[in-house]
Structures are given as structure tokens and as C-alpha cells.
């Protein structure tokens, strides 16, 4: 038997396992999936935990709930990928040989990469919400916070779900308004980008929204150090931003095993062919999800689109046929904007977020780049879709991997 080995059973790895399970000839292939943790977290839900909209139970399930019996699932830390021997070493010493390797080890925040962040006040007046622990600790802190300067800070790009920090800021505006202390809170959004978002067109809309919500935007801020004693951020060119409460999105990096195996770039992301999702260095290695170095957004929706194309490409690879160059960077994200409203943006490598309707061109129901209640409901419905449709590798009705331009103002 031959083995197709998937590293990481997060969003991308789970979708791939489900899709390949249906497509690969199982008389010939074993599909093995490895992850270090037994729990699967719905990470988009972390955003709502600090505001007590979701609990930990809402966002947690057992990984195996989403895996068919025919998949061999191993719960263990991956120690090393030995590309020269086509094998992977696990922490318990077990060796897994593979014919095809799919890397889906994701990305995580690394607070130690931001100078000074861990030195003073981490967990007291400086928090993250990109981890379950961080989101819970922040919820505790916000509960009895009386107001002051709240700074939301992105240390470096790329980060996963690049809209999540903005959504956090919008929800904070709503949360403090509801608590009756909005006038006592100075909200500031600090980013290394030149505006609120990675793409200029969406950025213009979102910059304006920040202004409307009385959030100060500090763009082009490249962090040098977090001075926890004086409670301020200092940029490389000596700009300073003071805080009472810091919500940090620290540097995001690919998994340590990628670095140990000599497979990543400076941030441990794996160099990947933009349209085929094959690794740049090895023919029989494919990469998807947050682990790639691609300029597409690091988002669950992107992993879903990639999985559709990668499944086909793996089947072509097995048949020794040329791969399809079809992944176009398609991403769509709901942006929660507070007070029961939201935005939806849809874009790819070449086309910026545009106005129009999604998923049915012209008809909708969800307005792109326009604030609406429907988009907020869409965001909440995403959790159901995530558990029941997306992770199982089933197609999301009416949504295609390649971006549709019909009905959109390009």
C-alpha cells in the first residue's frame, strides 16, 4: 500500500482528509492524518469570546468527530520531515513513510517575536485573542475594566484572518457602548499597513468606518518594542502610542517543525506554487491553508477553496498528468462591524474586494462591501457551516473555488 500523509488536522487538513477519502482508490492508498491536539477549535469563534458572545464549549469539538473511520488518525507531535527519505518522524519515535505529503500545519502567534511584549504586563494589561487561552484571559480582563486607552495592535503582516483585529475593534466599540462606558474608552487601531486593510478599496471603506466609530487609526506603525513598564508601543522610527490595555496580534509564524525541517522562509511559511499548491522544492509535497507562503488571505474559507483544487491536483499527480493551475487566491470573509451588522468581502490574487452581491451574482443575498444585518447573520451562520459542511469537505452551496465576477463592480 502507498501512503498519503497529511500533517495537521486543523481546518485545511481535516477538509483534505475528507475529500481525499472520497476520491482516492482505497485499495491502493492509506490516508494518514497527524495532529498533536485532540481538540479542534473553531478559531473564528475566538473573536467573540472576549465579549462573552461565545463560550469555550461553543468553539470546541473532538477532532475525530470530523474524520471518517477509513482515515488513519494519529495524535502525536510531528518532530521532523525528512524530505530526502520521504518520511516523517513523530515525537514518540514512530516513523511514517509517504509517497505524497500534504502540509497543513497552519500558523500560530509567537509573542516572543515582538520585542518586549513578554517582558512586562503580558496577561495583566497586554493580551491576545488569537488563542483560546488568550481570548479567555481577555474576557476576564474586559469584564471589570473601567475604561482608559485600549489599543489594538498588529505587529507584523501576514496574520491569519487579517480582518479579525478590525472586527475586534468594532465589537469593542459596541461592547463598551452597551456597558455604558464608551465615553471613558479611547480606542486606537495600530497597524503596519497604510490603512485598515490589506487591499486599498476595502481599506478606504473600513478607514471611514473606524472614523465614524470614533476609533483613532495609526497606520504605517512598524513596532520596535513594547515598553510594558511605561505602557507604550514604540515604532522603529520613534513614534509612540500609549495604552492602558493592549490587545496584541503578535507575529504569526508557521509551525516549528517546518523550521526544524528546513522547509520554510523567514517566518516558517512553506514556499508554494501559487496556482497549483505544489511545494516549490519537492514534487511530491503539497501545501495548503495557513502554512503556505502565498499572498492569499490566511483564512478557513481560503483553505476550503484550496482543498477543492488540491484534491484534483493530487489525483492528476498520481496519474502523472500535468497539474491544473487553477487556484486564484479566492477569499471571502465576513467582517463583523458591531451592533448586529456586518460586511462581506470577496477577492482574489488580482481582483480587489468589490461591491456587488454574493453568492448569487446580482440577487445576493449578501451585499459585498456594504454594511448589512444579513452579513452579520451570515457570520454567525458560518459556525454551523464550518462544523457541518466546510470541515467535512462538502461543497458550500453556490460558492465556487474560483471567484465569480458576475454582478460585481470590478
Amino acid at each position: 500500500m502507498k501512503r498519503l500523509l497529511i500533517l495537521g488536522a486543523g481546518t485545511a487538513g481535516t477538509i483534505m482528509a475528507n475529500r481525499l477519502n472520497r476520491k482516492l482508490d482505497r485499495r491502493e492508498w492509506i490516508i494518514t492524518l497527524v495532529d498533536q491536539h485532540s481538540q479542534h477549535y473553531y478559531q473564528p469563534g475566538f473573536l467573540f469570546i472576549p465579549f462573552e458572545m461565545y463560550t469555550v464549549a461553543d468553539v470546541t469539538r473532538a477532532r475525530t468527530d470530523f474524520l471518517p473511520k477509513q482515515i488513519e488518525y494519529i495524535q502525536e507531535e510531528i518532530e521532523l520531515i525528512e524530505t530526502d527519505k520521504n518520511r516523517v518522524k513523530l515525537h514518540n519515535g514512530e516513523i511514517l513513510e509517504y509517497q505524497i505529503l500534504v502540509i497543513a500545519t497552519g500558523t500560530d502567534i509567537v509573542p516572543a517575536e515582538v520585542g518586549g511584549l513578554l517582558d512586562n504586563g503580558w496577561g495583566e494589561n497586554a493580551f491576545d485573542f488569537y488563542t483560546i487561552e488568550g481570548a479567555q484571559a481577555l474576557a476576564q480582563r474586559l469584564k471589570d475594566w473601567k475604561g482608559g486607552k485600549l489599543v489594538v495592535h498588529i505587529a507584523e503582516m501576514p496574520i491569519k484572518c487579517p480582518v479579525a483585529p478590525l472586527e475586534f475593534t468594532f465589537l469593542a466599540d459596541w461592547y463598551f457602548t452597551r456597558k455604558g462606558i464608551r465615553d471613558d474608552v479611547e480606542l486606537t487601531y495600530v497597524t503596519p499597513l497604510s490603512g485598515a486593510f490589506t487591499r486599498p478599496r476595502a481599506s478606504a471603506v473600513l478607514d471611514h468606518l473606524l472614523e465614524q466609530k470614533n476609533v483613532k487609526l495609526v497606520p504605517d506603525f512598524n513596532i520596535m518594542t513594547v515598553d510594558g513598564t511605561a505602557q507604550k508601543l514604540v515604532s522603529y522610527d520613534e513614534k509612540k502610542v500609549e495604552y492602558d490595555l493592549l490587545v496584541s496580534i503578535p507575529t504569526n509564524m508557521g509551525a516549528g517543525v517546518i523550521e526544524r525541517s528546513g522547509l520554510g522562509d523567514e517566518l516558517n511559511f512553506v514556499p508554494t506554487q501559487k496556482h497549483t499548491l505544489q511545494s516549490k522544492a519537492y514534487e511530491n509535497i503539497f501545501v495548503l491553508g495557513d502554512a503556505t507562503d502565498l499572498p492569499s488571505s490566511k483564512a478557513g474559507s481560503v483553505a476550503h477553496f484550496q482543498a477543492e483544487i488540491l484534491t484534483e491536483n493530487i489525483l492528476l499527480f498520481i496519474k502523472n498528468r500535468p497539474l491544473k493551475e487553477e487556484f486564484d487566491g479566492h477569499a471571502n470573509c465576513f467582517i463583523e462591524s458591531g451592533f448586529g451588522k456586518g460586511f462581506l468581502i470577496d477577492f482574489n490574487y488580482d481582483i480587489e474586494p468589490v461591491e456587488g452581491k454574493f453568492p448569487l451574482p446580482v440577487i445576493g443575498p449578501m451585499a459585498l462591501l456594504q454594511e448589512s444585518r444579513m452579513n452579520h447573520l451570515g457570520k454567525l451562520a458560518f459556525k454551523w457551516i464550518y462544523w457541518h459542511v466546510l470541515l467535512r469537505g462538502l461543497p458550500i452551496p453556490l460558492v465556487t473555488a474560483k471567484m465569480s465576477t458576475l454582478g460585481k463592480k470590478i
Binding site: G115, I223, Y236, T251, D265, E266
Partner: protein, 108 residues
């Protein structure tokens, strides 16, 4: 009055952007860690581990963060060599500035 003042004024009006670029480069250089990284890179290409060992700042991660900043600014570039990532000082103008400063201030 300097008879060239009008012409100088015109020139100054036009070179605001260029000046901003130069000031940005100074801002990138005018930090002890980054300055020392750049000085080291004028002597050859090195990996993060070697840079940390040579510059001897206890905070390892701070140096990689600064290297990424310099790399984003296009001053240094990185490449993979086996299991290590090697940094190279790419911007010849910055190399010249560092060499000049080295010549004037650091040479005994």
C-alpha cells in the same frame, strides 16, 4: 541675499519625497541593534544564529524581528542555504553609508 535662492527653493519643493526616503533610511539605521546588524552584514552574509552570537543581545527574537523589518524595507534579503536562512546586505547605498561611517567613526 543669495541670488540662487529662487532656484534652490524650487528644488527643495520638488525633492520632499526623496528627502522622506533618506530620512526613512536613517530611521532604519539609527538604532543600535539594526546598525550593528548592518555593520556585520557589510563583512559578509550570515544566518540569524551567527548574527545573534556576534551582536550579543540577549533577546534572540528581537534580532529576527529587526531583520524582517530591514528585509521589508529592501535593505537586506534572505535566502535558504540547506537548513539555515542566510541574510545579505542588498542595498549598495546603505552599504556605502555604513562603510563611510565606519571609516570616519569606528576605525582606530
Amino acid at each position: 541675499m543669495n541670488s540662487n535662492l529662487d532656484e534652490i527653493k524650487k528644488r527643495f519643493k520638488n525633492n520632499e519625497d526623496a528627502c522622506q526616503k533618506v530620512v526613512d533610511i536613517f530611521a532604519l539605521i539609527s538604532n543600535k541593534t539594526r546598525f550593528r546588524i548592518l555593520c556585520l552584514l557589510t563583512e559578509g552574509d550570515f544566518c540569524v544564529g551567527d548574527i545573534v552570537d556576534t551582536i550579543q543581545i540577549s533577546n534572540f527574537s528581537n534580532i529576527s524581528q529587526q531583520l524582517r523589518l530591514l528585509s521589508m524595507a529592501g535593505i537586506v534579503e534572505s535566502r535558504r542555504d540547506g537548513k539555515r536562512i542566510i541574510y545579505h546586505l542588498k542595498d549598495q547605498r546603505v552599504r556605502d553609508v555604513i562603510s563611510y561611517l565606519h571609516e570616519k567613526f569606528l576605525k582606530r
